[in-house]
C-alpha cells in the first residue's frame, strides 16, 4: 500500500529514508525548505514498504495558477497541479537487484490514482544520475538527455589531482600562486552569494527559471549546515567566486555557482572546484555529481571534464496523468500565446513537456 508524506511529516520521512542508503539530498525533507519558502510549491513523497524493502519517490507539486494564464485556468478548469523533480529525482529504493516488475507496476498504478485525486495533470522529472533508475513502469516516457560528469571521491586527494587534465591542474596552480584561497563561508555566505549569482546569470543571459528569488537563498541559510554549505574563493579578502553544495547519503552536488566577472582572469574556479571535491571527501562523501552542460557538451561541460572523465547518461521522464485536462491546458496555452501575438505558436511542434509550460520563442528552430 502506497503512503504519502509532506515535509510536515519530517520524522516519518526521515525514518523511511534511513532504510534506503541510496537516498541522497534529493530524497531528503530538508530540501523542501528551499522550495517551500520561496515558491507556492510543496515537497512531498510517496513510498511503499515490503518487509524491510522500500520504494520511495520524492517530488515537487506545483500549482498551475503560477503560469501567466493561471487565472484563466482557475476560471475554466479549477485548481490544477503538476509534478517536477527538484533537480534530480525519480525512484529511490533498497532492493538489491532492482525493484521487481510487479511492485513497480502496482506502485505506478497507485501513484496514478494519487495524481488523479490531487488533480495533478502531468509529471516530469530528471533521474538521479548515479542510480540511473529508469525502470518506472507503464505510462512513463523515458528519454536520454545527454551526459553528466561525476567524480569518484573514494580516490585519495593525490589521485584526484592526478585525475585532472593538465590544463585544469595548471590553472589551479596558477590561481594558488596568484594568491587565491578557498574557505568555507558561514551563514553570511548566503547573503554575499546572490549579487554575484545574479551578475553571473545576467552575463550568461540565463532563462528566467534560474533567477531564484532572494528568499531562496535565505532559506538555504536556515538549512542544516550538514546538508547545504557554501564555499568562497578569495583574492585579497575579496570574494571572487562562490559555490553552494548540497550533500546527503554520501553524494554531493554543486548546486549553484557564481564568479565575479571583474576577477575572471584569476581563473579561481579550477581551484574552487578542486577544493570543493576535497571538502566533500572530508565530509565523508563517496561521489560528487558535477552535472552536465547548459546545452549539451558546451564550455561548462568541458570545464567539468577537467576534474574527472567519469560520465553517466542523463535521463528525463514524463507521464501524463489527466489527458482531458492536459488538452484543455494546451488550448489555453495556445490562446494565450496567440494573444501575445505569437501567431505561429503551434503546440504540436513544441518538444518541451509539458507543452503548457513551454517558453515560446518565435522563429527559434527547435
Amino acid at each position: 500500500m502506497m503512503q504519502s508524506l509532506t515535509t510536515r511529516d519530517r520524522d516519518k520521512w526521515l525514518e523511511v529514508i534511513k532504510k534506503v542508503p541510496s537516498a541522497d539530498c534529493y530524497a531528503h525533507p530538508e530540501l523542501g525548505k528551499m522550495w517551500e519558502a520561496s515558491y507556492p510549491y510543496s515537497f512531498e513523497a510517496v513510498y511503499a514498504e515490503f518487509g524491510d524493502k522500500v520504494i520511495f519517490y520524492p517530488f515537487l507539486v506545483r500549482p498551475l495558477i503560477e503560469l501567466p494564464f493561471g487565472k484563466k485556468i482557475m476560471e475554466e478548469l479549477g485548481p490544477c497541479f503538476d509534478i517536477t523533480s527538484p533537480e534530480y529525482g525519480g525512484i529511490f529504493h533498497n532492493f538489491e537487484d532492482g525493484v521487481p516488475y510487479d511492485i513497480v507496476k502496482q506502485f505506478n498504478e497507485e501513484f496514478g490514482e494519487f495524481c488523479k485525486r490531487r488533480r495533478i495533470v502531468t509529471e516530469f522529472g530528471r533521474v538521479q544520475v548515479l542510480l540511473s533508475n529508469t525502470n518506472l513502469g507503464p505510462g512513463y516516457n523515458v528519454r536520454r538527455m545527454g551526459k553528466v560528469v561525476w567524480v569518484d571521491l573514494t580516490k585519495t586527494p593525490e589521485e584526484l589531482e592526478a585525475g585532472m587534465t593538465k590544463e585544469g591542474r595548471k590553472k589551479m596552480r596558477k590561481a594558488v600562486r596568484d594568491g587565491v584561497s578557498v574557505r568555507e563561508m558561514g551563514p553570511e555566505g548566503f547573503e554575499q552569494f546572490p549579487p554575484l549569482y545574479y551578475q553571473t546569470m545576467e552575463y550568461h543571459t540565463a532563462a528566467e527559471r534560474y533567477y531564484f528569488p532572494k528568499s531562496f537563498f535565505e532559506a538555504m541559510e536556515r538549512m542544516d549546515e550538514k546538508f547545504c554549505f557554501i564555499l568562497g574563493a578569495y583574492f585579497e579578502e575579496k570574494l571572487v567566486a562562490s559555490i553552494i553544495i548540497i550533500q546527503h547519503g554520501g553524494v554531493a552536488y554543486s548546486y549553484l555557482s557564481a564568479t565575479n566577472r571583474d576577477y575572471q582572469e584569476l581563473r579561481p574556479n579550477n581551484l574552487l572546484f578542486f577544493d570543493m571535491l576535497l571538502k566533500c571527501k572530508e565530509r565523508g562523501c563517496h561521489s560528487f555529481v558535477l552535472g552536465g552542460g547548459a546545452g549539451g557538451e558546451d564550455g561548462t561541460y568541458l570545464f567539468k571534464l577537467n576534474f574527472s572523465q567519469l560520465e553517466k547518461d542523463f535521463f528525463i521522464y514524463d507521464r501524463l496523468h489527466i489527458p482531458d485536462l492536459y488538452l484543455k491546458l494546451i488550448e489555453l496555452k495556445t490562446e494565450y500565446e496567440h494573444n501575445c501575438s505569437h501567431e505561429d505558436f503551434d503546440p504540436q511542434s513544441v518538444s518541451f513537456f509539458p507543452i503548457y509550460r513551454a517558453e515560446w520563442r518565435p522563429g527559434e528552430n527547435h
Partner: protein, 175 residues
C-alpha cells in the same frame, strides 16, 4: 549529430547539394519514392534547403558513411509532440552503398533517437508495395504492416498499392 555504428547522421550542408540534385534527378531512386517528382536544379535545391532548415515539424538529415562520404538522406516528418508520433523516410543515393547495411544502421540510429531523445512513442511510414528492398529494411528494424492503401500510386502505367507501416517504441530491433 546522431551516431550509428557505420553511419553518422548530420545536418545537410550547402556542399551536399550538388550530389543531392543528381539523386533527385535519378530515376532509379525516384521511381521508388512516393509522390510526384519533377526534375530539379541546384537553385531549386538551395531554396528547398532554406525552407526545410526553418521547419519545426519536418527534420531532414544527411547520412554520412564511415568513409566520410555523403551517401543519402534520412528524415522525420510531421513530428507531433502532443500525440508523440512522427513519419520516417530514407534513401541511399549512392548505389555503391546499397546492400551494405548502411541503410539499416542509419534507420536504427534515427528511430532510436526519435524514441529516446524526442520522446516519440510511434513512428510510421508508407512505402510502395513493390519496393521489396525498402520493406525488408523496415521489417528488419521492427516496422510492422498496418494497412494497405490500395492503388494509391500510378507508376509506369499501372496502379500500385502503398503499404502503411508502423513501429511502436518497444518494437525497435537494435541488433
Amino acid at each position: 549529430m546522431i551516431v550509428g555504428t557505420k553511419t553518422l547522421i548530420r545536418a545537410i550542408g550547402d556542399d551536399d547539394l550538388p550530389k543531392l540534385v543528381q539523386w533527385r534527378n535519378d530515376k532509379s531512386i525516384q521511381q521508388n519514392l512516393i509522390g510526384w517528382h519533377f526534375p530539379v536544379s541546384l537553385e531549386d535545391e538551395k531554396l528547398w534547403l532554406e525552407r526545410v532548415r526553418g521547419d519545426r515539424k519536418n527534420k531532414r538529415f544527411a547520412i554520412e558513411a564511415d568513409s566520410g562520404e555523403y551517401i543519402g538522406n534520412i528524415g522525420l516528418y510531421d513530428i507531433d509532440f502532443i500525440n508523440r508520433h512522427c513519419g520516417f523516410g530514407i534513401f541511399i543515393g549512392d548505389p555503391r552503398y546499397r546492400g551494405g547495411g548502411y541503410a539499416t544502421d542509419a534507420t536504427t540510429a534515427l528511430v532510436k533517437f526519435a524514441i529516446e531523445e524526442l520522446g516519440m512513442v510511434r513512428l510510421w511510414l508508407t512505402v510502395l508495395a513493390t519496393n521489396d528492398k525498402a520493406i525488408k529494411l523496415y521489417e528488419r528494424v521492427g516496422f510492422k504492416l498496418e494497412g494497405v492503401l490500395r492503388r494509391q500510386n500510378f507508376r509506369g502505367g499501372e496502379y500500385v498499392d502503398e503499404n502503411l507501416m508502423g513501429l511502436l517504441k518497444e518494437e525497435l530491433i537494435t541488433t
